[in-house]
């Protein structure tokens, strides 16, 4: 593989990692903790949406992120011909 396509592959990887990590931070540190007061108006089973994110939603989002990243990278590996 040429240096140029290695660079392009790595750039695409870093880009998708950044997007995933932003969502990762948003659902946990954001919705679960810092932004919880903003979600206080949305009731969920006797409490609010922020509480749900802190005790359920963040974890479910994490799973979705890891599997999304896996699928994206497997496709990217094939596009750049670097799969095993």
């Amino acid at each position: 593989m040429s240096d140029k396509s290695t660079d392009a592959y790595w750039k695409a990887n870093v880009r998708i990692i950044t997007i995933c990590m932003v969502i990762w931070a948003l659902v946990s540190f954001g919705f679960g903790i810092v932004l919880r007061p903003l979600l206080a108006g949305i009731p969920v089973g006797g409490t609010d949406l922020g509480f749900w994110f802190a005790q359920q939603g963040s974890m479910l989002t994490f799973i979705a992120l890891v599997f999304y990243y896996r699928g994206y990278m497997n496709k990217l590996d094939r596009e750049f011909g670097v799969e095993e």
Binding site: T6, G45, G46, F51, W52, A54, V66
Partner: protein, 588 residues
């Protein structure tokens, strides 16, 4: 059948299973012993990783911690699962591509420095040894309660079982026993939770039950819990009663600490391909979340059940009489983890918050909270009894508690023994050692590590809980940044990485010891451990994230003023960034 006999059947049966697997999966080579010859199916590895990761702390302690504080302790849920996103995206695939056996292997080779390797070995040993103490004491608690043997005998039995499958089978034996242990512990954890969720809300899924209507009161479960707690003078369950800043920092410390734990990282060396490492991290998270999404329901429901038990006729009715205590209270009182005291001599148990007594306590002249001790650790183990579930469910919990403690202990022991036999003996002291010699050294160091863990389990330093926090702080502040920079920065050189690790390690240890005492010896702390004295209000337990930040900063400053990385290291970094060519196990 007697409860003791049921417990014995469940625990004994699970132990026989683990030993059977150990004999079937003996290790024949160092590749078997360190990395199960990289032949592990990614889903199997995910389950093994989940068992490896979920320790006595996750299984026994976590729901109790959440129950005690409510929303504030959501940090453990987000922190301990969020770390897997970091692992899956930032570390696991590249470390698998690198294709060696241990974490110091990577740090030593990537930073082309024996000093870097040594710093990594030292961090790893301190972290893993302190962590293993908690597992051994957790196993001892489970033994002493369920098998009615004294804790010493219990520890010897636990050590003998771990010895069998860890020394014989190495990573291969550990992987397949961990798979079995995962099945045991997840069944043990979820079955009582499903029963209790059905009892309280009619919803069989605890994850949904937590947000459902409480059948007895006809309003949401959490609303009932909030009202009941506030009526007894406690904080409400769903509110935030701590510092938001520390909550963020503590969660972040747990996340990057998780990602830097060597016994978790080495599990990703066992899968055949880079793509499998990504898949495996996803499954690990699924298997972990299966327990972690149930835990908050277990915590909230148990808290409500305990209060209902103590006030059988409602909060305004007569409290439970000392003479009517259910069996589980009597059983746990014998372990010393639960204690009642009839302060006003009326023969009834008054449970409330002394610091903020409710109106009724003042009117009726109560003289203090009479459930004087409820150790968080008993909550999960006593849960089936609190909810009056059948005897076999209690036997299951006993087996699950052991599975959680033993599977993590085995993973830690493997990390310790491979650091000694592979990183110290093979890479630093005697590079000429034969394959057979190294395998023998690995087994001997494993046996030594078990002996040491047993000794420390028998004579636990009185600070096990703080030490676990230290282990996370060290993982976050020393290993994680070094590994991450090794992958994501081509220019990071050995001097920078070593400076970073030392600054991260040093600042974290210094900060923790300043408030918790030098080597945790009481009275040697230089500042009182209260929020007013903390630097910028940062709790010592949350400092790992700050230590990691200092590590990054120091590494980049030193890198700028020292010799650049050699060409071949830049090429090494380029090669670990692409999956192609990972191939089979490579040794030095």
């Amino acid at each position: 059948m007697d409860q003791f006999v049921i417990n014995l059947i469940f625990v004994g049966g699970s132990f026989a299973l683990y030993i059977g697997i150990a004999i079937w999966a003996r290790a024949g080579s160092t590749a078997d012993f360190y990395a199960a010859s990289r032949g592990v199916n990614p889903i199997v590895n995910g389950a093994a990783t989940a068992a490896d990761w979920m320790s006595a702390a996750s299984f026994i302690s976590m729901a109790g911690l959440i129950a005690a504080v409510g929303y504030g302790n959501s940090t453990f849920l987000m922190g301990w699962t969020g770390g897997y996103v970091i692992l899956a995206l930032l570390l696991a695939p590249y470390l698998r591509k690198f294709g060696r056996f241990t974490v110091p292997d990577f740090i030593g080779d990537r930073f082309y420095s024996q000093t870097a390797r040594l710093v990594a070995v030292i961090s790893l040993l301190v972290m893993s040894i302190t962590y293993v103490i908690g597992q051994m004491t957790g196993a001892a608690v489970a033994f002493s309660r369920f098998l009615e043997v004294d804790a010493t005998t219990g520890l010897f039995i636990a050590s003998a079982v771990v010895f069998c499958y860890a020394v014989l089978g190495g990573m291969k034996g550990i992987t397949y026993t961990q798979l079995a242990q995962y099945v045991v512990l997840i069944i043990a954890y979820t079955i009582p939770a499903v029963f209790i969720s059905l009892q309280l809300t009619g919803n069989p899924l605890p994850q949904l039950g937590l947000f459902s209507t409480h059948t007895a009161t006809g309003q949401p479960l959490l609303q009932t819990l909030n009202e009941v707690l506030m009526e007894l003078g406690f904080n409400d369950y769903t509110g935030n009663h701590g510092s938001t800043f520390n909550m963020v920092l503590f969660t972040l410390s747990l996340m990057i600490g998780t990602a830097g734990l060597p016994h978790v990282i080495i599990r990703f060396f066992t899968v055949p391909k880079v793509a499998d490492a990504r898949t495996s991290a996803g499954w690990a998270l699924v298997f972990i979340a299966l327990l972690y999404t149930v835990a908050p329901a277990v915590g909230a429901m148990a808290r409500l059940n305990i209060i209902t038990t103590l006030y059988p006729d409602g909060l305004q009715g007569e409290p439970l009489a000392f003479d009517n205590k259910p069996d589980w209270m009597l059983n746990w009182e014998r372990t010393g983890l639960l204690r009642f005291e009839d302060k006003n001599g009326d023969g009834l148990i008054q449970y409330y918050n002394e610091a903020n007594p409710p109106a009724r306590a003042i009117e009726e002249g109560w003289e203090g909270n009479e459930m004087v001790l409820f150790n968080n650790d008993i909550l999960v183990l006593a849960n089936p009894e609190i909810a009056q579930l059948p005897g076999w469910v209690i036997g299951l919990i006993a087996a699950g508690g052991h599975a959680a403690a033993l599977s993590t202990a085995a993973g830690l022991l493997l990390a310790i023994s491979s650091a000694v036999s592979h990183d110290l003996i093979k890479s630093m002291i005697n590079p000429g050692i034969s394959e057979k010699g190294e395998l023998l050294a690995a087994r001997i160091s494993m046996a030594f590590a078990i002996a040491l863990a047993t000794y420390l389990g028998l004579n636990p330093p009185g600070f096990a809980a703080q030490v676990v926090a230290l282990a996370f702080g060290l993982a976050a502040a020393s290993l994680f940044p070094a590994i991450m920079m090794g992958i994501f920065s081509k220019k990071m050189n050995s001097t920078g990485a070593i400076a970073g690790m030392i600054v991260g390690l040093g600042s974290t240890v210094l900060y923790i010891f300043t408030y918790l005492g030098w080597f945790f010896i009481p009275g040697t702390n230089m500042l009182p451990n209260t929020a007013d004295n903390w630097l910028f209000g940062i709790s010592p337990l949350s400092f790992g994230a700050v230590g990691a930040m200092l590590n990054f900063i120091a590494a980049f400053i030193v890198m700028k003023i020292s010799a650049p990385v050699p060409k071949e290291i830049e090429e090494l970094v380029e090669s670990i960034r692409v999956p192609k060519g990972a191939g089979v196990a490579v040794d030095h």
